[in-house]
């Protein structure tokens, strides 16, 4: 499998903190690449660099052979790279359906003039957007809350709404920043199943997550960050037996689902 996303030598410094040191990482299409590590390891920073939220000090990021560092945030979605956020970023006052429809922004064309004049082309596009959004809501089991403002949804529903929004535009790679943080075991299990289904559509997934049970269960490969440095990389089985990883987790192997 050739890599869809290639990160090379990515370094970020926030004041006196070296958040990332020369990170190399590859994520192929149709596979789940997990990025794990203790708090402050640089996982979210890595995702923020790729998605254009943080400008790195050094390094390269290419998506499907194209250099993407420095591109405006919205261009990435047009290339087929979407993300979710660790701290929820739903459009709280818009209903769930509209939230997902925004996710189809990059996959549609109509501009200001066409919108104001409500051109026939636009009506067809609007219909297609709505249908795709409804399809997404039912895929994520949100059809019942389609017309509720997103801020009124239960936390777990908001988490799934973010996934629905990121998946709606048929991306080729999704960056998921802690999709099950704060969810109970049943909800985590359900989202795990959905992420596998997303992968089965041929979409690449980069999964940043603390829930080791989920990570070890769904991932095809796992990369471990600590203090901004990549300390191990391999299949879930390899990672669970890596002595360096076990040390990093301070012997708390069992606690994190790691069995030496």
């Amino acid at each position: 499998m050739s890599a869809l996303l290639t990160i090379k030598g990515l370094s970020v410094r926030f004041g006196g903190v070296q958040a990332l040191s020369a990170l190399d990482l590859e994520a192929p299409a149709g596979a789940i690449t997990a990025l794990i590590g203790p708090n402050g390891a640089g996982k979210t920073t890595a995702i923020n660099c790729v998605s254009g939220v943080v400008a790195p000090d050094a390094g390269r990021v290419s998506f499907d052979g194209q250099e993407v560092l420095g591109l405006a945030g919205h261009k990435l979605a047009c290339l087929g790279l979407t993300r979710t956020f660790q701290n929820l970023q739903v459009f709280g006052l818009m209903n769930a359906l509209e939230n997902v429809m925004v996710g189809l922004h990059a996959a549609s064309r109509g501009g200001f003039a066409a919108a104001m004049l409500r051109l026939p082309l636009l009506r067809r596009e609007e219909k297609a957007i709505r249908e795709r959004a409804e399809e997404m809501l039912s895929f994520f089991g949100l059809e019942k809350v389609a017309h509720q403002p997103a801020e009124e949804l239960a936390y777990g529903d908001q988490k799934r709404l973010e996934l629905a929004r990121a998946l709606a535009g048929r991306p080729r790679l999704m960056l998921l920043d802690e999709p099950v943080a704060g969810l109970n075991a049943a909800e985590t299990h359900e989202i795990g199943g959905l992420i596998v289904k997303i992968k089965e559509q041929g979409i690449g997934v980069v999964l940043v997550e603390h829930d080791m049970g989920l990570v070890m269960h769904v991932s095809d490969q796992v990369a471990v960050l600590s203090g901004g440095v990549l300390i191990a990389q391999g299949t879930p089985e390899e990672i669970q037996q890596d002595p360096e990883v076990l040390r990093t987790y301070l012997g708390g192997g069992e606690e994190f689902g790691l069995v030496a």
């Binding site: 998605s51 254009g52 939220v53 405006a72 945030g73 919205h74 990435l76 979605a77 047009c78 979407t82 993300r83 956020f85 970023q89 739903v90 459009f91 709280g92 006052l93 818009m94 209903n95 509209e98 429809m101 925004v102 996710g103 189809l104 922004h105 990059a106 996959a107 549609s108 109509g110 501009g111 200001f112 066409a114 919108a115 104001m116 004049l117 409500r118 636009l122 596009e125 609007e126 957007i129 403002p149 973010e162 929004r165 990121a166 535009g169």
Partner: protein, 318 residues
């Protein structure tokens, strides 16, 4: 048509019916004149609402765009003999370019730099209107602006302008409503609520802010041109920063993010100075006070308050 669409066009039809019947009751030219000024304010506020209520950007310079529309259209037709409709269009194009020049650098920055930029812009435009007296007529104003015409018939009387101005309001409302309920409209609301997520979804945030700012400036310009050709005389004082505050107040009184709210806000506040002599004397304090009280006690505006909902950018409009 969606349920929302039915509701909007139902309300619009009701508004059109009321507007069609009003002249049967209101025959006094003074009251017709007030209604005409209301219409022009509604037009500006509708555009302003797209900017403030949906994209979440505040402009304190819309009186300047209103004034530029009036002066450019007035001078081109009055001093240079342009056909008034052509002059109106030319003014709109010039104002669009001016708004673009202001919007491009300021809307890139995070935070509300647009407020400062537009405020300064309004002050400059006011000074130019007074100082360029060879062209603008100076502080006493510019006179001799010809009326617009409709197939050769001049739109000079209060009643003929009534039809024109309110016709423009209906068209302006429909265009704005179409925009709000579109892919672009959703993008505007999204960038207001969660800019990071909007960008990650493919919404070009800067470009959208600039475009909606330009559109709102064009609404103001068209209203200003109509104003100039209606009155035939324009003075700089009409377009000072206090007029900008007034327009923002109307927008907020009615309810940000509700196009009907803009209509109510303008309809409610426009006649105040005319109806209450006390208010006219202290007009600027009056509008400033209303703005302050509203932002503290009724941030969702009248329409939002009537619907018993909290403030929501665009979420509730129709």
């Amino acid at each position: 048509m969606s349920a929302q669409g039915k509701k909007f066009f139902g309300c619009l039809a009701a508004l059109a019916a009321v507007l069609a019947l009003l002249p049967l009751v209101v025959t006094n030219p003074y009251y017709l004149n007030v209604l005409n000024v209301v219409a022009l304010n509604v037009l500006v506020v509708t555009g302003l609402n797209l900017l403030i209520g949906y994209a979440g950007q505040i402009s304190l310079g819309h009186a300047a765009f209103f004034g530029l529309g009036a002066y450019i259209s007035g001078i081109l037709s009055g001093s240079y003999g342009w056909e008034p409709w052509t002059a109106l269009l030319a003014a709109a194009v010039v104002v669009a370019v001016v708004a673009l020049v202001i919007g491009l650098p300021t809307l890139r920055l995070e935070g509300n730099y647009l407020v400062m930029a537009t405020l300064g812009f309004n002050l400059i435009v006011s000074v130019l209107m007074v100082q360029l007296d060879d062209i603008t007529g100076g502080p006493s104003g510019y006179t001799g602006i010809p009326s617009l015409s409709f197939f050769g018939a001049p739109i000079a009387s209060d009643i003929s302008f009534y039809w024109l101005a309110w016709g423009a309001v209906l068209v302006g409302l429909i265009l704005a409503r179409n925009l709000v309920h579109s892919r672009v409209g959703r993008g505007l609301k999204a960038l207001h609520e969660a800019p990071l997520a909007a960008a990650a979804s493919g919404v070009p945030i800067e470009a959208y802010k600039v475009k909606v700012f330009v559109i709102s400036a064009v609404y103001a310009s068209v209203a200003g041109s109509l104003y100039a050709h209606y009155y035939g005389i324009i003075t700089p004082a009409t377009f000072d920063i206090f007029k900008s505050v007034e327009l923002v107040t109307m927008c907020i009184v009615g309810g940000m993010g509700s196009l009907w709210g803009g209509l109510f806000g303008a309809a409610l506040l426009t006649p105040m100075p005319q109806l209450l002599a006390v208010v006219e004397e202290y007009k600027d304090i009056f509008f400033g006070g209303i703005l302050l009280v509203l932002l503290i006690f009724l941030p969702q505006g009248l329409v939002g308050w009537l619907e018993g909902k909290r403030v929501r950018p665009g979420g509730r409009a129709f």
